[in-house]
């Protein structure tokens, strides 16, 4: 029997047993529940009749606003639009700034908004765009336009959106949103699946099955098998959650689901694997130091701290993905899995930096695997109180 077969068997057991466990099923159900609630509740709320206040400036606005109301007229709870007329642009901008109006429609062509919030614009923005397109198609039909014109109307934005603050960049906004979502998901995934490894390792020590296992395999095989098995379960939960979220968003039409650029997706998968690898190895070593489940969190405190710090500093990268600090963090392995995908999302990382960051992290991971493997091997058969990293390292038997 080869080493890898042993690793595969350990992984398969982890996958089967943990996958069946109440803890896994409940945590999966809770995650799905939260995701669905996040999508469905706003969708239900936004379905209620809403009232927007729109400032109007110039000519040609009324048909669009009328069309907008007409569009939702068949809904269970139609949207109503209140109008406030302005005489000049400054006055309108001030009112918009102060929140008296939600947006300002100018000459039936331009839409003033405060900022380009989130991505895909606000509900009102979307409604007005739709209304304006509808109007133009109606006009086209009465004047007898060509089919090509219809296509153009449908693909282009009917109203030019002018934000008071910030740049309008569809792509950047979309990528930013994905980066933010990805960052949060990555953090949650790495920490929770890392924690599974932590408790899984401690459990084997506390219920003493470890000695029977080590009589048949090397510690690294056990650690590697657990990492793979738990990693696969984690990825499964992750994918199911993402698919559910995507379907829920599509069904409820809560917002336009952004298309995820392929380069970003690949980079997120890669960095998830690297991040999970780093943290799970470290958590595995920490878990081996203690014999009781209640001590596990304490032993893992340093790793958890690093992850939390990594998560928060990566918000800086989110704010300014090209800053010097973001570049530095790219090369700090425990932080890189959070920071690099953000920079990739904004297209703010040169290819060589990305490649170098992967190389540095893989190198770090290789060293960490050896160190952690040795701590793990040294600590596994030590029962009783908590072992120090150094003691475990020294007493490594295998």
């Amino acid at each position: 029997m080869t080493s890898l077969e042993t690793v595969r068997m350990v992984a398969a057991r982890e996958f089967r047993e943990r996958g069946k466990s109440r803890a896994y099923l409940i945590s999966s159900a809770v995650t799905l529940g939260i995701i669905l609630a996040m999508v469905v509740i706003p969708a239900v709320l936004s379905g209620r009749g809403r009232t927007f206040t729109v400032g109007v400036l110039g000519e040609g606005n009324d048909p669009i606003l009328a069309a907008a109301e007409a569009l939702t007229a068949d809904d269970e709870s139609p949207t109503t639009i209140e109008r406030i007329s302005f005489d000049d642009r400054d006055e309108a901008s001030t009112a918009l700034e102060e929140g008296e109006v939600d947006a300002v429609l100018v000459d039936g062509r331009e839409l003033l908004v405060t900022t380009t919030g989130g991505f895909g614009g606000s509900d009102l923005e979307r409604l007005l765009q739709q209304a304006a397109s509808t109007r133009r198609i109606q006009e086209l039909l009465t004047t007898g336009g060509a089919a090509a014109d219809v296509v153009e109307i449908l693909t282009a934005e009917a109203l030019e959106v002018v934000p008071l603050r910030g740049e309008r960049g569809e792509e950047a906004a979309r990528r930013g949103m994905i980066a933010y979502g990805g960052l949060v998901l990555m953090y949650i995934a790495i920490l929770s699946y890392g924690a599974w490894l932590l408790t899984g390792v401690t459990e084997e020590k506390s219920n003493r099955v470890i000695e029977v296992l080590l009589a048949t395999m090397k510690p690294w095989q056990l650690l590697a098998g657990k990492m793979v098995g738990i990693g696969l379960l984690g990825i499964l939960q992750f994918v199911v959650t993402l698919i559910t979220a995507t379907v829920a968003i599509r069904v409820t039409n809560l917002f336009d689901f952004p298309e995820i650029p392929v380069d970003l997706l690949l980079s997120m998968v890669l960095w998830f694997l690297l991040g999970y690898g780093l943290y799970s190895v470290a958590y595995g070593a920490a878990g081996s130091l203690v014999s009781r489940a209640e001590d596990a969190q304490t032993a893992a405190f340093p790793m958890t701290m690093v992850a939390v710090v990594g998560f928060f500093v990566s918000f800086r990268a989110l704010a300014d993905p090209s800053s010097a600090s973001a570049v530095v963090m790219t090369f700090i392995p425990p932080v890189a899995p959070f920071v690099v995908p953000v920079r990739v999302a904004f297209g703010a990382i040169p290819l060589w930096e990305h490649a170098a960051a992967v190389a540095v992290t893989v190198g770090f991971l290789a060293v960490l695997v050896r160190l952690a493997g040795r701590v793990y091997a040294g600590a596994l058969l030590h029962y009783g109180g908590r072992l120090k990293f150094r003691e475990a390292f020294r007493s490594a038997e295998m």
Binding site: M1, M9, E17, R208, V209, E211, A215, E397
Partner: protein, 295 residues
């Protein structure tokens, strides 16, 4: 054949093993005895490569034990443990495959062992729901499921009720009869005496006495004398060669020099009073043990 040769291991200041050597032949059962904390567990772990030895070697069939050999060893560690939430049957199948069995083989063997141990109806129970005694049985099955050639059991009898002891003893004897080399540690000397042809007694990390139990008894420098004399008083005070004595009313249990003439003893006893009992025999395993580890 398993040979432990000159094993040495020091943990900090503690010398756990100090030249520990003994041999286990296939088809033999050896009792590994010794006071607490003298290195029994360390020696057993060394067989499975769980201890990095400072010196010495463990060989199986003349070659240092390799990972493939360990696939054919069965181990019941002192620190008992199985996955509490895993079903007994699944657990045995898993351990069987870890020892190189195919899944169908492992399933067949797991079923067979659960049947043998009277646990067939609990096959699908998580181990944590089994009684203590039944957990012990599953643990034994875990050591046996892959039909090992060498069976190493650390205190297999501790915590068993008399029925459990009987079952365990029967299975170990069975394994030895089938050609398995069996080594187990125990504190229950009477049991070992009944069960084993061979013993190894360890003290301070070193085997101080080992070999065939009967031969060891014969070779002992002492003999056991159990006499009961009506109103015999302390007749043994006059005897030469008495090493130790225990008196309970008229009954005296003596340990005497091997060289003492038994006829002389009998004459002395007869002179002291009416003899109700006179048993002259080799020392018990407990005597050998006490002698070997006397401190």
């Amino acid at each position: 054949m398993l040979v432990l040769d000159g094993l040495a291991k020091t943990y900090g200041q503690v010398r756990a093993l100090d030249g520990c050597s003994f041999t286990v032949d296939r088809g033999r059962m050896i009792g590994f005895l010794g006071p607490n904390g003298v290195g029994k567990t360390t020696a057993m772990r060394a067989i499975f490569g769980l201890v990095r030895l400072d010196a010495g070697s463990v060989t199986w069939n003349g070659r240092p034990v390799a990972d493939e050999d360990r696939m054919r060893f069965g181990y019941m560690p002192e620190a008992r443990g199985l996955y509490p939430k895993m079903k007994a049957f699944d657990q045995l199948v898993y351990l069987g495959t870890l020892h190189g069995m195919t899944r169908p083989q492992a399933k067949a063997a797991a079923g067979r062992w659960l049947e043998t141990l009277g646990l067939a109806d609990r096959a699908d129970s998580p181990v944590e729901e089994l009684s203590h005694g039944n957990q012990q049985r599953v643990q034994l099955a875990a050591a046996l499921v892959h039909e090992p050639e060498l069976l190493v059991l650390d205190e297999p009898f501790s915590g068993l009720d008399p029925l459990g002891v009987e079952t365990m003893a029967g299975i170990l004897r069975d394994q030895a009869d089938r050609g398995v080399a069996v080594v187990f540690s125990s504190h229950q000397l009477d049991l070992v005496e009944d069960l084993c042809e061979d013993v190894a007694i360890i003290d301070h990390g070193r085997v101080v006495l080992s070999g065939n139990v009967d031969e060891l008894k014969d070779a002992s420098a002492y003999r056991r004398l159990d006499v009961e004399i009506e109103d015999g008083g302390d007749f043994f005070r006059h005897l030469r060669g008495v090493v130790a004595e225990e008196t309970d009313g008229d009954r005296h249990r003596l340990l005497v020099d091997k060289g003492t003439d038994v006829r002389e003893l009998l004459a002395e006893a007869a002179a002291a009073g009416r003899i109700r009992r006179f048993v002259y025999t080799t020392p018990s395993l407990s005597d050998l043990f006490r002698e070997a580890v006397s401190r």
